[in-house]
């Protein structure tokens, strides 16, 4: 037992060191480009946290990232690399928006239908690469990239054709009854655009933990992820697990798309592949593919993304420093072997 605890403690230490190194590198870049890193970080963090409203906005920024992070992490558990979260978000988000714009149900019912739609459509979209992988061994990295572009163009043409808003470039604004924003929550956070997506996200984290740790499904998925040959040997249907895992990953991303278009935003703009798709990879990586880790990493990224504008307003540091810090953290995460070796050395001594 003790060793296992020690192992996860070590992982946590590695994670913190990785973040720290990223922040140090960020400070380095600031110094190199002639800026004051102390004030830089001060305003970066204040921008994300200094008022209730800003805290709310930070959380709202994190919500789609939680979903895409979970999506990537879930696929990863089954040994799949889901670069397609962006496309799944688009499809799931688009279908939910379409429902929201089409039906005139009372809010609770409408939202429920929209959530289900997002889950199903995102899941089905991701089922394609899953099926291609299981049946034809087409590498999911390539197929999800292709599907991202197909999703991009589908939405690009479908929105103006059927849901055109004031302009060709975006859908109509969703009605209040289809929005994840609620009066009481916004008020609680001083008018922030935080929305009930955060509760969906926390529910998704809990559900992911539950599925992965408690259910036979999670047992199967992880077995396939760790060792597909052994899973097959034991009678687990690996192909089915692969498709299923992609479906779950896609459903999570799809719901993430809904929180983006019907919570964070109020309509769907075409011509953009949501950046949260790729960021989800970073979130999952930093969160060590565990749902709780994903939640923490997404909130951290949300903080950086949310605070960088204020930093830019208060100083002359380009906001891209936040992306640079995140990217550096990911590289350090990828090379965490080095950090691990370092820790081992320290322990040995």
């Amino acid at each position: 037992m003790t060793t296992i605890n020690w192992q996860s403690q070590k992982e946590a230490v590695i994670l913190l060191l990785t973040i720290l190194l990223g922040l140090v590198a960020g400070a380095g870049f600031m110094i190199l480009t002639g800026h004051d890193w102390v004030t830089g970080y001060e305003f970066l963090f204040r921008g994300g946290l200094m008022s209730l409203e800003r805290v709310g906005n930070t959380i709202a920024t994190a919500v789609p990232l939680i979903f895409t992070g979970l999506s990537v992490a879930f696929a990863f558990k089954t040994g799949l690399f889901n670069i397609g979260a962006a496309g799944q978000m688009l499809i799931g988000g688009f279908c939910a928006t379409a429902v929201g714009l089409t039906f005139d149900f009372p809010k609770p019912l409408l939202l429920t239908v929209m959530i289900l739609t997002a889950l199903v459509c995102g899941g089905l979209w991701a089922a394609i690469p899953g099926w291609l992988k299981a049946k034809f061994n087409v590498h999911e990295v390539v197929s999800t990239i292709m599907l991202n572009w197909i999703a991009y163009w589908l939405v690009y043409y479908l929105v103006p054709a059927y849901f055109k808003g004031s302009f060709e470039t975006e859908s109509r604004n969703i009605p209040v009854s289809a929005s994840l924003r609620t009066e009481w929550l916004s008020q609680l956070f001083d008018g922030s655009y935080i929305n009930i997506g955060i509760f969906l996200a926390i529910a998704a984290v809990l559900l992911s933990v539950f599925i992965l740790q408690r259910t036979t499904l999670g047992f199967e998925l992880k077995a396939v992820g760790f060792n597909q040959h052994a899973a097959e040997y034991a009678g687990i249907n690996a192909g089915r697990s692969i498709v299923l895992s992609m479906v779950i990953a896609g459903a999570l991303a799809g719901l993430g798309g809904m929180t983006l278009y019907c919570g964070y935003a109020t309509n769907l703009q075409i011509g953009i592949l949501p950046s949260q798709g790729i960021d989800g990879i970073a979130v999952a990586l930093l969160g060590a593919n565990s749902p709780w880790g994903v939640l923490a990493a997404a909130l951290f990224f949300g903080l950086l993304y949310s605070g960088k504008g204020f930093m830019n307003a208060m100083t002359s540091i380009p906001p891209e420093i936040a992306d640079t810090i995140i990217a550096t953290i990911i590289y350090f995460a990828a090379t965490s072997v080095l950090i691990e070796k370092g820790i081992d050395k320290v322990i040995k001594r």
Binding site: V138, H139, I145, A282, P318, E320, A327, T328, A333
Partner: protein
């Protein structure tokens, strides 16, 4: 139809060439056993290095500035690829993750620097001029198709393709490189340093991708803005589509070039304007998926690609 083909051909080629050179880089990397999903980021790096160099040099010199810019891109791509090489070869990290990190770093850091330099993150330059190849462009059929309206970089890339083919299949280095991608242990026990070969391959892929990014900049884009619009990923797809073979890649990138050019210029071509835009735009991607399915049985990726080489393991 023939008329249309003639018209779009130069643009299709212009679009395909950066893909081609980048995919050649990917070919070297993967044939040596290292998956390089960071091509996109390396292209951005190349485009950035070229943009900075050219924007500095163009006011003081003329046509040489562009070539020096390309050279800078090659160097920058090669240098930056060391990050990937170090993580995936020396540290035996997961190559896909390392590549993803490369993409993220490239996108962020170039714009960050460009912002500090230009204030906006955009850098604009004057691109290459197109020219007709004398005599050859008079040849019936192919003259108009291949030898009109060409960029110097197109011929450079085709030259590199020829060299790349030759090096891969005829030289000592190529033989060893291909062996590394199939069975690195065999290479190691033949007394060859696998890590060295893989480093070289990844650096070549970085150089090629850097050049690819710079070619986009110096031909049809003329502007650096922190992205290459997913062309690095498309190059990766072309590599797989082309079955990890130089000529296959040539075919795959040409296909992407023509398909995407037809899709974009269809609006302005009355004959094609009635085809739904969505069908044209998604066509290349759907075809890629179909081809991957068709080839899935015969597809032969390098056996060791994606697997870190552990010196101790046999």
């Amino acid at each position: 139809m023939w008329q249309i083909l003639q018209q779009i051909s130069p643009y299709a080629i212009a679009f395909a060439i950066p893909l081609l050179i980048t995919a050649i880089g990917g070919l070297y990397s993967e044939r040596s056993g290292v998956v390089n999903i960071g091509l996109e980021g390396l292209m951005v790096i190349g485009s950035f290095a070229a943009a900075i160099t050219i924007s500095v040099l163009q006011p003081i010199m003329h046509s040489q500035a562009l070539w020096i810019g390309l050279l800078a891109a090659v160097l920058a791509g090669a240098l930056f690829s060391l990050l990937h090489a170090f993580a995936s070869i020396s540290l035996q990290a997961n190559q896909v993750i390392s590549g993803t990190a490369i993409n993220m770093i490239a996108g962020a850091i170039t714009v960050f620097i460009a912002r500090n330099v230009t204030g906006s993150g955009n850098i604009q330059i004057n691109p290459f001029t197109r020219f007709d190849i004398p005599v050859l462009n008079e040849v019936p059929v192919v003259g108009k198709l291949l030898f009109s309206n060409t960029y110097a970089t197109t011929w450079l890339t085709l030259f590199i393709l020829t060299v790349a083919y030759f090096v891969l299949y005829r030289t000592v280095f190529g033989l060893r490189l291909r062996a590394c991608g199939e069975h690195p242990q065999a290479v190691a026990s033949a007394g060859v340093n696998v890590q060295f070969i893989r480093y070289a391959a990844v650096i070549i892929s970085g150089a090629c991708a850097g050049l690819g990014g710079a070619i986009i900049l110096t031909t049809y884009s003329g502007e650096f803005n922190g992205t290459v619009f997913g062309l690095g990923f498309l190059a990766l797809a072309a590599l797989i589509f082309g079955q990890w073979k130089p000529l296959g890649i040539l075919g795959a990138t040409a296909f992407f070039g023509y398909a995407s050019t037809i899709a974009t210029s269809a609006q302005a071509i009355p004959a094609l304007a009635q085809i739904p835009g969505v069908a044209l735009k998604t066509f290349p991607y759907i075809v890629t998926l179909l081809v991957l399915v068709l080839f899935s049985k015969t597809s032969q990726p390098p056996r060791a690609s994606g697997q870190p080489f552990d010196h101790g393991k046999r």
